[in-house]
């Protein structure tokens, strides 16, 4: 049974159905937050007790959805204290193989939607509120084929720093997390079949494992907490040392 929710801790988490988003929603809830969990599909492996998790099902690339979601959260809870921009897609290719549709789609989901959500939330957020963006370590160290993905995450990290500088005086903290590669069903398959992938991400990681959604959720929960009140404009890397290591041979 999660603890009684603190009425001044309302968090929007996007991409909350699975992976990092789901782990973050559950971890924040265990820290007393009430969660507006946004995704196109329902949360996988639903916990037995759903109190404190309010699922909003929608496609955030729909032009009205962003405004509607924020308005609905505000109407229902009276406030928004945290926005976690986690929803994101992969599927990038090398630059010369990237068509306009792929370019536009990845930039939209990974950067423009977080920007729009931040815009709507910043209009109504009170002092003490915050935004946490899920960027990526590929912002710090390049990987093959990830052209638009890398660009979109770098854009998000850059936006985070700028927002932190701009909105800090209003008492709003903006930070990002930069996960390395995180275990999902997709990455588990790739690890089994793709030796090059394994060499980059397992052999090439000092900690010799992929990240787990809970690793990222723990860092997000820390940044969201009063313990991190003086941290602003920072991108926290959670990657088992991958981005500071030399490539595995």
């Amino acid at each position: 049974m999660p603890p009684a929710a603190d009425p001044s801790r309302i968090a929007i988490v996007t991409g909350a159905a699975r992976g990092i988003g789901r782990a973050t929603a559950l971890r924040l809830r265990s820290n007393g937050w009430s969660i507006v969990a946004i995704d196109q599909s329902p949360m996988t492996d639903l916990p037995d007790d759903l109190s404190g998790i309010d699922e909003f099902r929608c496609d955030l690339t729909d032009s009205a959805a962003v405004k509607n979601v924020v308005a609905l959260a505000l109407e229902r809870y009276g406030r928004i204290d945290l926005l976690v921009n986690n929803a994101g897609i992969s599927g990038a290719k090398p630059v010369h193989e990237t068509d306009d549709e792929n370019l536009a789609r990845i930039m939209e989901v990974n950067f423009t939607v977080p920007f729009r959500l931040s815009r709507e939330v910043l209009k109504v957020m009170q002092p003490g509120g915050g935004i946490i963006n899920v960027a990526s370590v590929v912002n710090f160290r390049a990987t093959p084929s990830t052209s638009t993905y890398t660009a979109s995450k770098a854009a998000l990290a850059g936006l985070t720093r700028q927002m932190a500088s701009e909105y800090g005086p209003r008492g709003i903290r903006c930070n990002a997390v930069a996960p390395g590669l995180v275990e999902t069903t997709l990455t588990a398959d790739k690890l089994r079949c793709d030796a090059k992938f394994r060499r980059i991400w397992v052999d090439g990681t000092p900690w010799h494992r992929l990240g787990r959604p809970e690793d990222i959720a723990a860092a997000i929960a820390f940044l969201a907490s009063p313990d991190a009140e003086f941290i602003n404009g920072h991108t926290l890397v959670i990657d088992g040392g991958w981005s500071v290591a030399a490539p595995a041979v």
Partner: protein, 244 residues
Amino acid sequence: MPDRSKRLDGHIVVVTGAARGIGAQTARQAAAEGARVIVSDIQRDAGEKLAAELPDARFFPHDVGDEGDWNKLTELCRSEGGVHGLVNNAGIYDPRLIEDTDVAFFERNVRINQLGTLLGIQFVQKAAPAEGASIVNLSSLSGLRGTKGIAYTATKWAVRGMTRTAAVELAPRKIRVNSIHPAFIDTPMLSAMSRQHFEMRQKSIPLGRAGTVEDVANLIIFLLCDDSSYITGSETAIDGGLSA
């Protein structure tokens, strides 16, 4: 509130420069989280007084630039089951201009801030138990930018780099190594900066205030405990957004 509990229960945690400032607050909070703290400092009186206040803590007289002292600490920790956490916090700060920086002064900064950190890393390498350990190195905004005091800047950039090498090399031993980069934390060390200068610079901090020792200790505790178990080789700025 589940944000805090006994996250360092039973762990031996060494905090250098723990007689005052960030070190002292970190020692207090680590003890509150269940750690058996070793309060290390060159200042005996303040260090002993603090250790006496904390449950299950002890004072260790320590010149962090002295190998012999670190060897004694290694023996001590090994005999008690090993060290789980080290906070390389001891340091000096005296922001002299380049033209006022003589060789002896530069070398003193290197000895305490940089060599002290190396010896600390080696200590953990020797004294950590099989389940591993976590090292938090105090760098600074001066390890991200080019602030006044070239000797201090040199050592803080050095600590940042050493952190990364150590993170890669010590990972097989399950030892995590991370640096933190505070700026404008209200501590005795900041008395080296004039109050006027401090108040002027404080205006440029987005969050509009100086940091507290509690702010920094909170981050250090996070990096020492299991919630950060996939975080190594990282550098975390804690400066109200100044370095953004």
